[in-house]
Amino acid sequence: MSDPVSDPMSGPIAAEQVLALEGVVAGYGRAAPVLRGLSVTVRAGEVVCLVGPNGAGKSTALKVASGLLAPRSGRVMLAGRDVTGLTPQRLLALGLAHVLQGHSVFREMTVAENVRLGGYTVRDQARLDARIEVVKELFPVVAERWGSMAGLLSGGQQKQVEFARALMLEPSVVLLDEPSMGLDPRNTQVVFDQIDLMRRAGVAVLLVEQNARRALEMADVGCVLDLGRVHISGPARELAADPRLGRLYLGGQPAT
Protein backbone atom coordinates (compact mmCIF):
# COMPACT_ATOMS: atom_id res chain seq x y z
CA MET A 1 0.00 0.00 0.00
CA SER A 2 2.89 2.31 -0.58
CA ASP A 3 1.63 3.78 -3.81
CA PRO A 4 -0.98 6.26 -2.69
CA VAL A 5 -2.60 6.53 -6.08
CA SER A 6 -3.42 2.86 -6.37
CA ASP A 7 -4.86 2.65 -2.89
CA PRO A 8 -8.54 3.50 -3.06
CA MET A 9 -8.69 4.18 0.63
CA SER A 10 -5.72 6.43 0.87
CA GLY A 11 -7.98 9.44 0.87
CA PRO A 12 -7.70 12.73 -0.98
CA ILE A 13 -4.76 13.32 -3.16
CA ALA A 14 -2.92 16.45 -4.00
CA ALA A 15 -4.95 19.50 -4.96
CA GLU A 16 -3.75 19.89 -8.51
CA GLN A 17 -5.05 16.45 -9.42
CA VAL A 18 -8.18 16.70 -11.44
CA LEU A 19 -10.58 14.85 -13.63
CA ALA A 20 -10.95 16.21 -17.13
CA LEU A 21 -12.96 15.23 -20.16
CA GLU A 22 -11.36 16.74 -23.23
CA GLY A 23 -13.35 16.98 -26.43
CA VAL A 24 -15.17 13.72 -25.81
CA VAL A 25 -17.27 12.28 -28.61
CA ALA A 26 -19.22 9.22 -27.51
CA GLY A 27 -22.40 7.30 -28.25
CA TYR A 28 -24.12 3.96 -28.20
CA GLY A 29 -23.84 1.30 -30.87
CA ARG A 30 -23.97 2.59 -34.40
CA ALA A 31 -26.19 5.52 -33.57
CA ALA A 32 -25.13 9.12 -33.93
CA PRO A 33 -22.90 10.33 -31.11
CA VAL A 34 -24.58 11.54 -27.95
CA LEU A 35 -21.67 13.56 -26.71
CA ARG A 36 -20.28 15.82 -29.37
CA GLY A 37 -17.05 17.27 -28.15
CA LEU A 38 -17.71 17.61 -24.48
CA SER A 39 -15.12 19.15 -22.21
CA VAL A 40 -15.46 19.35 -18.45
CA THR A 41 -12.85 19.80 -15.75
CA VAL A 42 -13.11 19.06 -12.04
CA ARG A 43 -10.48 20.14 -9.56
CA ALA A 44 -9.79 18.60 -6.22
CA GLY A 45 -11.96 20.04 -3.51
CA GLU A 46 -14.43 21.32 -6.04
CA VAL A 47 -18.00 20.33 -6.89
CA VAL A 48 -18.91 20.66 -10.55
CA CYS A 49 -22.59 20.31 -11.26
CA LEU A 50 -23.94 19.19 -14.61
CA VAL A 51 -27.50 20.14 -15.37
CA GLY A 52 -29.48 19.86 -18.55
CA PRO A 53 -32.58 18.48 -20.13
CA ASN A 54 -33.39 14.81 -20.21
CA GLY A 55 -31.35 13.02 -22.79
CA ALA A 56 -28.71 15.72 -23.02
CA GLY A 57 -25.95 13.23 -22.31
CA LYS A 58 -25.20 13.83 -18.66
CA SER A 59 -25.21 10.17 -17.67
CA THR A 60 -23.29 9.34 -20.79
CA ALA A 61 -20.62 11.81 -19.80
CA LEU A 62 -20.24 10.15 -16.41
CA LYS A 63 -20.06 6.71 -18.02
CA VAL A 64 -17.25 7.86 -20.24
CA ALA A 65 -15.43 9.30 -17.25
CA SER A 66 -15.66 6.09 -15.26
CA GLY A 67 -14.71 3.82 -18.11
CA LEU A 68 -18.09 2.16 -18.60
CA LEU A 69 -18.30 3.58 -22.09
CA ALA A 70 -15.30 4.07 -24.35
CA PRO A 71 -15.32 7.42 -26.15
CA ARG A 72 -15.07 7.51 -29.93
CA SER A 73 -12.62 10.34 -29.66
CA GLY A 74 -11.35 12.75 -27.08
CA ARG A 75 -9.49 12.03 -23.86
CA VAL A 76 -10.23 11.36 -20.25
CA MET A 77 -7.55 12.67 -17.92
CA LEU A 78 -7.25 11.66 -14.31
CA ALA A 79 -4.65 13.14 -12.00
CA GLY A 80 -2.70 14.34 -14.96
CA ARG A 81 -2.55 11.05 -16.80
CA ASP A 82 -4.47 9.85 -19.79
CA VAL A 83 -6.86 7.15 -18.63
CA THR A 84 -8.98 6.90 -21.77
CA GLY A 85 -10.12 3.33 -22.30
CA LEU A 86 -9.11 2.00 -18.90
CA THR A 87 -11.60 -0.35 -17.24
CA PRO A 88 -13.74 0.86 -14.35
CA GLN A 89 -11.80 -1.53 -12.20
CA ARG A 90 -8.50 0.18 -12.99
CA LEU A 91 -10.04 3.62 -12.54
CA LEU A 92 -11.42 2.59 -9.18
CA ALA A 93 -7.95 1.61 -8.16
CA LEU A 94 -6.88 5.10 -9.17
CA GLY A 95 -9.41 6.56 -6.76
CA LEU A 96 -12.43 7.19 -8.96
CA ALA A 97 -15.91 6.16 -7.88
CA HIS A 98 -19.22 6.39 -9.76
CA VAL A 99 -22.75 6.15 -8.39
CA LEU A 100 -25.16 5.24 -11.15
CA GLN A 101 -28.44 6.86 -11.96
CA GLY A 102 -31.63 4.98 -11.16
CA HIS A 103 -31.38 1.90 -9.08
CA SER A 104 -28.32 -0.21 -9.00
CA VAL A 105 -28.47 -2.17 -5.77
CA PHE A 106 -27.83 -5.88 -6.10
CA ARG A 107 -31.43 -6.80 -5.67
CA GLU A 108 -31.12 -10.36 -4.55
CA MET A 109 -28.43 -9.76 -2.00
CA THR A 110 -28.82 -8.48 1.48
CA VAL A 111 -28.16 -4.91 2.47
CA ALA A 112 -25.13 -6.22 4.33
CA GLU A 113 -23.74 -7.89 1.24
CA ASN A 114 -24.41 -4.80 -0.84
CA VAL A 115 -22.58 -2.55 1.55
CA ARG A 116 -19.69 -4.95 1.92
CA LEU A 117 -19.35 -5.19 -1.82
CA GLY A 118 -18.71 -1.47 -1.81
CA GLY A 119 -15.38 -2.40 -0.29
CA TYR A 120 -14.77 -5.29 -2.64
CA THR A 121 -11.29 -4.14 -3.51
CA VAL A 122 -10.26 -3.66 0.09
CA ARG A 123 -8.80 -6.64 1.91
CA ASP A 124 -8.40 -4.98 5.27
CA GLN A 125 -11.37 -6.16 7.29
CA ALA A 126 -10.85 -3.79 10.19
CA ARG A 127 -10.96 -0.76 7.95
CA LEU A 128 -14.10 -2.03 6.28
CA ASP A 129 -15.80 -2.63 9.58
CA ALA A 130 -14.99 0.89 10.65
CA ARG A 131 -16.50 2.29 7.47
CA ILE A 132 -19.58 0.16 7.93
CA GLU A 133 -20.14 1.78 11.29
CA VAL A 134 -19.89 5.20 9.70
CA VAL A 135 -22.42 4.52 6.95
CA LYS A 136 -24.78 2.81 9.34
CA GLU A 137 -24.82 5.96 11.35
CA LEU A 138 -25.42 8.18 8.36
CA PHE A 139 -28.27 6.06 7.08
CA PRO A 140 -30.13 4.40 9.92
CA VAL A 141 -32.10 2.29 7.48
CA VAL A 142 -28.91 0.48 6.52
CA ALA A 143 -28.50 -0.67 10.09
CA GLU A 144 -32.18 -1.44 10.57
CA ARG A 145 -32.49 -3.53 7.46
CA TRP A 146 -29.01 -5.02 7.54
CA GLY A 147 -30.22 -8.53 6.78
CA SER A 148 -33.01 -7.69 4.33
CA MET A 149 -32.91 -8.41 0.64
CA ALA A 150 -31.99 -5.08 -0.92
CA GLY A 151 -34.46 -5.42 -3.77
CA LEU A 152 -37.32 -5.42 -1.29
CA LEU A 153 -36.56 -2.04 0.18
CA SER A 154 -38.50 1.03 -0.81
CA GLY A 155 -37.16 3.14 -3.64
CA GLY A 156 -35.61 5.73 -1.39
CA GLN A 157 -34.17 3.13 0.95
CA GLN A 158 -32.44 1.46 -1.98
CA LYS A 159 -30.96 4.76 -2.97
CA GLN A 160 -29.58 5.13 0.53
CA VAL A 161 -28.03 1.68 0.36
CA GLU A 162 -26.41 2.64 -2.91
CA PHE A 163 -24.98 5.77 -1.49
CA ALA A 164 -23.77 3.90 1.55
CA ARG A 165 -22.12 1.37 -0.72
CA ALA A 166 -20.32 4.13 -2.55
CA LEU A 167 -19.11 5.63 0.71
CA MET A 168 -17.35 2.42 1.68
CA LEU A 169 -14.29 3.61 -0.16
CA GLU A 170 -12.84 7.03 0.33
CA PRO A 171 -12.20 7.92 -3.28
CA SER A 172 -10.54 11.06 -4.50
CA VAL A 173 -12.82 11.66 -7.46
CA VAL A 174 -16.53 10.97 -7.25
CA LEU A 175 -19.12 10.91 -10.00
CA LEU A 176 -22.67 11.16 -8.71
CA ASP A 177 -25.63 10.67 -11.05
CA GLU A 178 -28.71 12.18 -9.42
CA PRO A 179 -27.94 11.01 -5.92
CA SER A 180 -30.98 12.71 -4.42
CA MET A 181 -33.55 11.12 -6.67
CA GLY A 182 -36.26 9.42 -4.65
CA LEU A 183 -34.89 10.61 -1.34
CA ASP A 184 -37.05 12.39 1.16
CA PRO A 185 -35.93 15.87 2.31
CA ARG A 186 -34.07 14.58 5.35
CA ASN A 187 -32.05 12.08 3.35
CA THR A 188 -31.48 14.57 0.57
CA GLN A 189 -29.92 16.78 3.20
CA VAL A 190 -27.71 13.93 4.37
CA VAL A 191 -26.51 13.34 0.84
CA PHE A 192 -25.76 16.98 0.19
CA ASP A 193 -23.99 17.22 3.54
CA GLN A 194 -21.85 14.29 2.55
CA ILE A 195 -20.99 15.91 -0.74
CA ASP A 196 -19.99 19.00 1.13
CA LEU A 197 -17.89 16.95 3.51
CA MET A 198 -16.13 15.29 0.65
CA ARG A 199 -15.36 18.61 -0.93
CA ARG A 200 -13.88 19.85 2.30
CA ALA A 201 -11.75 16.74 2.40
CA GLY A 202 -10.38 17.66 -1.01
CA VAL A 203 -12.35 15.26 -3.13
CA ALA A 204 -13.28 16.25 -6.67
CA VAL A 205 -17.00 15.79 -7.22
CA LEU A 206 -18.77 15.69 -10.55
CA LEU A 207 -22.45 15.90 -9.77
CA VAL A 208 -25.43 15.44 -12.06
CA GLU A 209 -28.61 16.72 -10.51
CA GLN A 210 -32.11 17.50 -11.69
CA ASN A 211 -32.73 19.07 -8.34
CA ALA A 212 -30.82 21.81 -10.06
CA ARG A 213 -31.39 24.87 -7.95
CA ARG A 214 -30.49 23.01 -4.83
CA ALA A 215 -27.40 21.54 -6.43
CA LEU A 216 -26.20 24.79 -7.95
CA GLU A 217 -26.55 26.42 -4.58
CA MET A 218 -23.87 24.21 -3.13
CA ALA A 219 -21.74 23.59 -6.22
CA ASP A 220 -18.70 25.62 -7.18
CA VAL A 221 -19.06 25.37 -10.92
CA GLY A 222 -22.16 24.70 -13.00
CA CYS A 223 -22.36 23.44 -16.54
CA VAL A 224 -25.50 23.35 -18.62
CA LEU A 225 -25.38 20.45 -21.01
CA ASP A 226 -27.55 20.29 -24.07
CA LEU A 227 -27.24 18.21 -27.22
CA GLY A 228 -24.06 16.66 -25.97
CA ARG A 229 -22.11 19.85 -25.49
CA VAL A 230 -21.58 22.30 -22.72
CA HIS A 231 -23.98 25.09 -23.45
CA ILE A 232 -23.09 27.48 -20.73
CA SER A 233 -20.80 27.14 -17.79
CA GLY A 234 -19.65 29.34 -15.01
CA PRO A 235 -19.75 29.86 -11.26
CA ALA A 236 -22.72 27.90 -10.00
CA ARG A 237 -24.44 30.72 -8.19
CA GLU A 238 -24.34 32.97 -11.21
CA LEU A 239 -25.95 30.33 -13.35
CA ALA A 240 -28.69 29.80 -10.82
CA ALA A 241 -29.46 33.47 -10.86
CA ASP A 242 -29.63 33.81 -14.66
CA PRO A 243 -33.34 34.23 -15.37
CA ARG A 244 -33.26 33.07 -19.00
CA LEU A 245 -31.39 29.95 -18.01
CA GLY A 246 -33.79 29.41 -15.20
CA ARG A 247 -36.76 29.39 -17.45
CA LEU A 248 -35.25 27.03 -19.97
CA TYR A 249 -33.39 24.60 -17.78
CA LEU A 250 -33.99 25.12 -14.13
CA GLY A 251 -37.72 25.45 -13.84
CA GLY A 252 -39.95 28.44 -13.51
CA GLN A 253 -40.23 29.36 -9.91
CA PRO A 254 -37.07 29.81 -7.90
CA ALA A 255 -36.66 27.76 -4.79
CA THR A 256 -39.02 28.76 -2.05
Partner: protein, 329 residues
Protein backbone atom coordinates in the same frame (compact mmCIF):
# COMPACT_ATOMS: atom_id res chain seq x y z
CA UNK B 1 -41.16 -1.82 -54.11
CA UNK B 2 -44.68 -1.93 -52.86
CA UNK B 3 -45.90 -3.95 -55.78
CA UNK B 4 -43.00 -6.34 -55.35
CA UNK B 5 -43.78 -6.90 -51.71
CA UNK B 6 -47.41 -7.60 -52.57
CA UNK B 7 -46.64 -9.86 -55.47
CA UNK B 8 -44.03 -11.85 -53.65
CA UNK B 9 -46.37 -13.73 -51.30
CA UNK B 10 -48.68 -14.43 -54.22
CA UNK B 11 -45.84 -15.88 -56.21
CA UNK B 12 -44.81 -18.05 -53.29
CA UNK B 13 -48.38 -19.19 -52.81
CA UNK B 14 -48.67 -20.13 -56.46
CA UNK B 15 -45.41 -22.04 -56.27
CA UNK B 16 -46.58 -23.86 -53.17
CA UNK B 17 -49.86 -24.83 -54.79
CA UNK B 18 -48.13 -26.06 -57.90
CA UNK B 19 -45.28 -27.82 -56.10
CA UNK B 20 -46.73 -31.36 -56.10
CA UNK B 21 -47.27 -31.12 -59.85
CA UNK B 22 -43.86 -29.71 -60.56
CA UNK B 23 -41.71 -32.29 -58.85
CA UNK B 24 -40.75 -35.46 -60.69
CA UNK B 25 -41.60 -38.04 -58.05
CA UNK B 26 -43.72 -38.76 -55.02
CA UNK B 27 -40.85 -38.79 -52.62
CA UNK B 28 -40.44 -35.09 -53.18
CA UNK B 29 -44.16 -34.63 -52.61
CA UNK B 30 -43.74 -36.51 -49.36
CA UNK B 31 -40.74 -34.45 -48.33
CA UNK B 32 -42.63 -31.30 -49.29
CA UNK B 33 -45.61 -32.28 -47.18
CA UNK B 34 -43.32 -32.92 -44.22
CA UNK B 35 -41.68 -29.53 -44.64
CA UNK B 36 -45.02 -27.78 -44.88
CA UNK B 37 -46.14 -29.61 -41.76
CA UNK B 38 -43.10 -28.32 -39.90
CA UNK B 39 -43.66 -24.84 -41.26
CA UNK B 40 -47.22 -24.89 -39.97
CA UNK B 41 -46.08 -26.08 -36.56
CA UNK B 42 -43.27 -23.56 -36.32
CA UNK B 43 -45.61 -20.73 -37.30
CA UNK B 44 -47.99 -21.96 -34.67
CA UNK B 45 -45.23 -22.15 -32.08
CA UNK B 46 -44.41 -18.59 -32.91
CA UNK B 47 -47.88 -17.53 -31.81
CA UNK B 48 -46.66 -18.17 -28.31
CA UNK B 49 -42.91 -17.81 -28.54
CA UNK B 50 -42.71 -14.83 -30.86
CA UNK B 51 -45.25 -12.69 -29.10
CA UNK B 52 -44.89 -13.54 -25.45
CA UNK B 53 -41.28 -14.67 -25.42
CA UNK B 54 -42.22 -17.86 -23.61
CA UNK B 55 -39.95 -20.53 -25.07
CA UNK B 56 -41.68 -23.86 -25.20
CA UNK B 57 -39.46 -26.80 -26.00
CA UNK B 58 -42.46 -28.98 -25.33
CA UNK B 59 -44.87 -28.27 -28.12
CA UNK B 60 -44.44 -31.81 -29.33
CA UNK B 61 -46.71 -32.71 -26.42
CA UNK B 62 -49.58 -31.10 -28.30
CA UNK B 63 -48.41 -32.64 -31.51
CA UNK B 64 -48.49 -36.06 -29.90
CA UNK B 65 -51.78 -35.48 -28.12
CA UNK B 66 -53.39 -34.29 -31.32
CA UNK B 67 -52.04 -37.32 -33.12
CA UNK B 68 -53.10 -39.81 -30.47
CA UNK B 69 -56.45 -38.09 -29.98
CA UNK B 70 -57.27 -38.36 -33.65
CA UNK B 71 -55.89 -41.87 -33.91
CA UNK B 72 -57.82 -43.12 -30.91
CA UNK B 73 -61.08 -41.54 -32.01
CA UNK B 74 -60.70 -43.14 -35.41
CA UNK B 75 -59.60 -46.58 -34.27
CA UNK B 76 -61.36 -47.02 -30.95
CA UNK B 77 -64.62 -45.16 -31.55
CA UNK B 78 -64.86 -45.42 -35.33
CA UNK B 79 -65.35 -41.67 -35.63
CA UNK B 80 -64.94 -40.44 -39.22
CA UNK B 81 -61.55 -38.81 -39.58
CA UNK B 82 -62.92 -35.47 -40.64
CA UNK B 83 -64.72 -35.30 -37.32
CA UNK B 84 -62.01 -36.89 -35.24
CA UNK B 85 -59.45 -34.32 -36.34
CA UNK B 86 -61.24 -31.18 -35.14
CA UNK B 87 -62.64 -32.90 -32.06
CA UNK B 88 -59.24 -34.07 -30.98
CA UNK B 89 -57.72 -30.67 -31.68
CA UNK B 90 -60.44 -29.02 -29.64
CA UNK B 91 -59.82 -31.39 -26.75
CA UNK B 92 -56.09 -30.73 -26.87
CA UNK B 93 -56.71 -27.01 -26.94
CA UNK B 94 -58.91 -27.28 -23.88
CA UNK B 95 -56.26 -29.34 -22.16
CA UNK B 96 -53.59 -26.86 -23.19
CA UNK B 97 -55.63 -24.09 -21.65
CA UNK B 98 -55.74 -26.09 -18.42
CA UNK B 99 -52.04 -26.80 -18.46
CA UNK B 100 -51.42 -23.22 -19.47
CA UNK B 101 -52.94 -21.98 -16.26
CA UNK B 102 -50.20 -23.74 -14.31
CA UNK B 103 -47.44 -23.38 -16.85
CA UNK B 104 -47.61 -19.67 -17.49
CA UNK B 105 -47.34 -18.92 -13.82
CA UNK B 106 -43.62 -19.15 -14.26
CA UNK B 107 -41.52 -17.01 -16.50
CA UNK B 108 -38.37 -17.29 -18.48
CA UNK B 109 -36.14 -20.19 -17.67
CA UNK B 110 -38.63 -22.02 -15.48
CA UNK B 111 -41.16 -22.10 -18.25
CA UNK B 112 -38.69 -23.89 -20.49
CA UNK B 113 -38.33 -26.53 -17.84
CA UNK B 114 -42.06 -26.87 -17.49
CA UNK B 115 -42.44 -27.35 -21.18
CA UNK B 116 -39.83 -30.07 -21.19
CA UNK B 117 -41.63 -31.73 -18.30
CA UNK B 118 -44.84 -31.59 -20.26
CA UNK B 119 -43.44 -33.71 -23.06
CA UNK B 120 -41.93 -36.18 -20.66
CA UNK B 121 -45.23 -36.49 -18.84
CA UNK B 122 -47.37 -36.98 -21.90
CA UNK B 123 -44.86 -39.48 -23.17
CA UNK B 124 -45.05 -41.42 -19.92
CA UNK B 125 -48.82 -41.43 -20.04
CA UNK B 126 -49.04 -42.51 -23.65
CA UNK B 127 -46.46 -45.18 -23.07
CA UNK B 128 -47.79 -46.38 -19.73
CA UNK B 129 -51.48 -46.42 -20.57
CA UNK B 130 -51.08 -49.46 -22.76
CA UNK B 131 -54.72 -50.55 -22.74
CA UNK B 132 -55.77 -47.30 -24.33
CA UNK B 133 -52.90 -46.23 -26.51
CA UNK B 134 -51.21 -49.49 -27.26
CA UNK B 135 -48.20 -48.22 -25.33
CA UNK B 136 -44.82 -48.90 -26.77
CA UNK B 137 -46.30 -51.22 -29.38
CA UNK B 138 -47.72 -48.17 -31.03
CA UNK B 139 -51.04 -47.28 -32.50
CA UNK B 140 -51.86 -48.04 -36.10
CA UNK B 141 -54.28 -45.64 -37.75
CA UNK B 142 -56.01 -46.64 -41.00
CA UNK B 143 -55.59 -44.36 -43.97
CA UNK B 144 -58.45 -41.90 -44.48
CA UNK B 145 -58.15 -42.35 -48.24
CA UNK B 146 -58.05 -46.10 -48.75
CA UNK B 147 -58.86 -45.64 -52.43
CA UNK B 148 -55.74 -43.62 -53.18
CA UNK B 149 -52.35 -45.11 -53.75
CA UNK B 150 -49.51 -43.94 -51.55
CA UNK B 151 -48.33 -41.16 -53.81
CA UNK B 152 -51.80 -39.72 -54.13
CA UNK B 153 -52.16 -39.80 -50.38
CA UNK B 154 -49.04 -37.68 -50.13
CA UNK B 155 -50.59 -35.20 -52.55
CA UNK B 156 -53.76 -35.02 -50.50
CA UNK B 157 -51.87 -34.42 -47.29
CA UNK B 158 -49.59 -31.90 -48.91
CA UNK B 159 -52.63 -29.73 -49.56
CA UNK B 160 -54.11 -30.39 -46.14
CA UNK B 161 -50.92 -29.27 -44.47
CA UNK B 162 -50.73 -26.32 -46.80
CA UNK B 163 -54.21 -25.27 -45.73
CA UNK B 164 -53.15 -25.59 -42.12
CA UNK B 165 -50.09 -23.47 -42.78
CA UNK B 166 -52.23 -20.83 -44.42
CA UNK B 167 -54.52 -20.83 -41.43
CA UNK B 168 -51.63 -20.49 -39.01
CA UNK B 169 -50.08 -17.66 -41.02
CA UNK B 170 -53.37 -15.86 -41.21
CA UNK B 171 -53.85 -16.17 -37.48
CA UNK B 172 -50.39 -14.88 -36.74
CA UNK B 173 -50.85 -11.98 -39.07
CA UNK B 174 -54.17 -11.11 -37.54
CA UNK B 175 -52.86 -11.31 -34.01
CA UNK B 176 -49.83 -9.24 -34.91
CA UNK B 177 -51.96 -6.29 -35.90
CA UNK B 178 -54.51 -6.55 -33.12
CA UNK B 179 -54.50 -5.12 -29.64
CA UNK B 180 -54.41 -8.67 -28.40
CA UNK B 181 -51.05 -9.05 -30.11
CA UNK B 182 -49.81 -5.79 -28.67
CA UNK B 183 -50.84 -7.06 -25.25
CA UNK B 184 -48.82 -10.22 -25.82
CA UNK B 185 -45.78 -8.18 -26.78
CA UNK B 186 -46.20 -6.16 -23.62
CA UNK B 187 -46.23 -9.41 -21.67
CA UNK B 188 -42.96 -10.40 -23.26
CA UNK B 189 -41.43 -7.14 -22.12
CA UNK B 190 -42.80 -6.66 -18.63
CA UNK B 191 -45.73 -8.57 -17.27
CA UNK B 192 -46.46 -6.50 -14.20
CA UNK B 193 -46.34 -3.30 -16.14
CA UNK B 194 -48.65 -4.76 -18.77
CA UNK B 195 -51.05 -5.85 -16.09
CA UNK B 196 -51.10 -2.37 -14.60
CA UNK B 197 -51.98 -0.97 -18.00
CA UNK B 198 -55.01 -3.23 -18.12
CA UNK B 199 -53.67 -6.22 -20.04
CA UNK B 200 -55.24 -9.33 -18.49
CA UNK B 201 -51.93 -11.12 -18.68
CA UNK B 202 -53.00 -14.51 -17.37
CA UNK B 203 -55.91 -14.80 -19.77
CA UNK B 204 -53.81 -13.55 -22.66
CA UNK B 205 -51.01 -15.96 -22.00
CA UNK B 206 -53.33 -18.91 -21.65
CA UNK B 207 -55.12 -17.90 -24.83
CA UNK B 208 -51.86 -17.63 -26.73
CA UNK B 209 -50.74 -20.96 -25.31
CA UNK B 210 -53.96 -22.69 -26.28
CA UNK B 211 -54.11 -21.08 -29.70
CA UNK B 212 -50.62 -22.15 -30.45
CA UNK B 213 -51.43 -25.66 -29.20
CA UNK B 214 -54.47 -25.78 -31.45
CA UNK B 215 -52.60 -25.67 -34.74
CA UNK B 216 -49.89 -27.98 -33.53
CA UNK B 217 -52.57 -30.44 -32.44
CA UNK B 218 -54.18 -30.21 -35.87
CA UNK B 219 -50.82 -30.89 -37.44
CA UNK B 220 -50.44 -33.88 -35.14
CA UNK B 221 -53.87 -35.19 -36.08
CA UNK B 222 -53.12 -34.90 -39.77
CA UNK B 223 -49.80 -36.56 -39.19
CA UNK B 224 -51.49 -39.52 -37.50
CA UNK B 225 -53.87 -39.96 -40.41
CA UNK B 226 -51.14 -39.59 -42.94
CA UNK B 227 -48.35 -41.54 -41.33
CA UNK B 228 -50.56 -44.27 -39.95
CA UNK B 229 -48.38 -45.47 -37.08
CA UNK B 230 -47.77 -43.68 -33.81
CA UNK B 231 -45.15 -44.50 -31.23
CA UNK B 232 -45.06 -42.53 -27.98
CA UNK B 233 -41.34 -41.96 -27.71
CA UNK B 234 -41.22 -40.52 -31.19
CA UNK B 235 -44.26 -38.30 -31.33
CA UNK B 236 -43.69 -36.97 -27.82
CA UNK B 237 -40.13 -36.16 -28.66
CA UNK B 238 -38.27 -33.16 -27.46
CA UNK B 239 -36.51 -33.06 -30.79
CA UNK B 240 -39.73 -32.30 -32.66
CA UNK B 241 -40.37 -29.50 -30.21
CA UNK B 242 -36.87 -28.13 -30.59
CA UNK B 243 -37.22 -28.23 -34.34
CA UNK B 244 -40.10 -25.81 -34.10
CA UNK B 245 -38.01 -23.49 -31.97
CA UNK B 246 -34.99 -23.74 -34.19
CA UNK B 247 -37.00 -23.03 -37.33
CA UNK B 248 -38.77 -20.04 -35.83
CA UNK B 249 -35.59 -18.62 -34.50
CA UNK B 250 -33.58 -19.13 -37.61
CA UNK B 251 -36.17 -17.40 -39.75
CA UNK B 252 -36.92 -14.72 -37.20
CA UNK B 253 -39.58 -14.79 -34.51
CA UNK B 254 -40.69 -11.25 -35.13
CA UNK B 255 -41.72 -11.88 -38.68
CA UNK B 256 -44.77 -13.51 -40.16
CA UNK B 257 -42.73 -15.59 -42.57
CA UNK B 258 -39.82 -16.23 -40.23
CA UNK B 259 -40.80 -19.71 -39.05
CA UNK B 260 -41.81 -20.65 -42.59
CA UNK B 261 -38.44 -19.63 -43.94
CA UNK B 262 -36.77 -21.47 -41.08
CA UNK B 263 -38.66 -24.64 -41.91
CA UNK B 264 -37.73 -24.36 -45.56
CA UNK B 265 -34.09 -24.24 -44.56
CA UNK B 266 -33.91 -26.58 -41.59
CA UNK B 267 -35.88 -29.48 -42.99
CA UNK B 268 -33.83 -29.86 -46.18
CA UNK B 269 -30.60 -29.06 -44.34
CA UNK B 270 -31.33 -31.85 -41.88
CA UNK B 271 -31.74 -34.23 -44.81
CA UNK B 272 -28.54 -33.01 -46.31
CA UNK B 273 -26.44 -33.46 -43.18
CA UNK B 274 -27.87 -36.89 -42.66
CA UNK B 275 -27.08 -38.00 -46.16
CA UNK B 276 -23.70 -36.31 -46.37
CA UNK B 277 -22.45 -37.17 -42.90
CA UNK B 278 -24.80 -39.92 -41.89
CA UNK B 279 -22.19 -42.62 -41.47
CA UNK B 280 -21.14 -41.31 -38.08
CA UNK B 281 -22.83 -39.17 -35.50
CA UNK B 282 -20.84 -36.19 -36.61
CA UNK B 283 -23.93 -34.87 -38.33
CA UNK B 284 -25.33 -34.14 -34.89
CA UNK B 285 -22.28 -32.03 -34.25
CA UNK B 286 -22.80 -30.25 -37.56
CA UNK B 287 -26.40 -29.47 -36.64
CA UNK B 288 -25.33 -28.35 -33.19
CA UNK B 289 -22.66 -26.05 -34.55
CA UNK B 290 -25.04 -24.51 -37.05
CA UNK B 291 -27.45 -23.84 -34.21
CA UNK B 292 -24.72 -22.21 -32.15
CA UNK B 293 -23.63 -20.05 -35.05
CA UNK B 294 -27.18 -18.92 -35.71
CA UNK B 295 -27.68 -17.98 -32.10
CA UNK B 296 -24.40 -16.12 -31.95
CA UNK B 297 -24.48 -14.31 -35.23
CA UNK B 298 -28.13 -14.10 -36.22
CA UNK B 299 -29.93 -13.88 -32.91
CA UNK B 300 -32.89 -12.14 -34.51
CA UNK B 301 -33.11 -14.54 -37.41
CA UNK B 302 -32.43 -14.31 -41.09
CA UNK B 303 -35.28 -12.00 -41.91
CA UNK B 304 -34.03 -9.45 -39.42
CA UNK B 305 -30.94 -9.14 -41.59
CA UNK B 306 -33.06 -7.93 -44.44
CA UNK B 307 -35.23 -5.55 -42.52
CA UNK B 308 -34.52 -2.30 -40.77
CA UNK B 309 -31.67 -2.30 -38.32
CA UNK B 310 -32.24 -0.88 -34.92
CA UNK B 311 -31.25 2.74 -35.06
CA UNK B 312 -30.52 4.55 -31.86
CA UNK B 313 -32.72 7.44 -30.80
CA UNK B 314 -32.52 10.39 -33.09
CA UNK B 315 -30.93 13.48 -31.73
CA UNK B 316 -33.09 16.57 -32.17
CA UNK B 317 -31.55 19.34 -34.18
CA UNK B 318 -32.62 22.05 -31.80
CA UNK B 319 -31.73 22.15 -28.17
CA UNK B 320 -34.27 21.09 -25.64
CA UNK B 321 -34.39 24.59 -24.32
CA UNK B 322 -35.46 25.95 -27.69
CA UNK B 323 -38.08 23.30 -28.27
CA UNK B 324 -39.47 23.79 -24.85
CA UNK B 325 -39.66 27.45 -25.34
CA UNK B 326 -41.70 26.97 -28.46
CA UNK B 327 -44.49 24.83 -27.03
CA UNK B 328 -44.76 26.60 -23.74
CA UNK B 329 -47.58 29.06 -23.96
Amino acid sequence: MRIASRAFPLLIAALALGYPWLVPNYYLVYAGALTVMYAAMATSWNLLGGFTGYVSLGHSAFFGLGAYGTGLLVTRLDVPWAVALPVSAALVTALAAGVGVAAVRVRGASFVIVSIALVSMTNLVAQGWRSLTGGSSGLQVPSPFPGLHRGQTHMAFFYLFLALLALALLTWWYVSRSRFGAGLLAIREDEDKAESLGVPTAAYKVTAFALSALFVALAGGLYALWFGSLDPIFVFSILIGSNMVLMSLLGGVRHLYGPLLGALIVAPAGEYFLIALGETQIHLTATGLVLILVVLFMPDGILARFTRRRAGPSIPDRSAGERLHEVTP
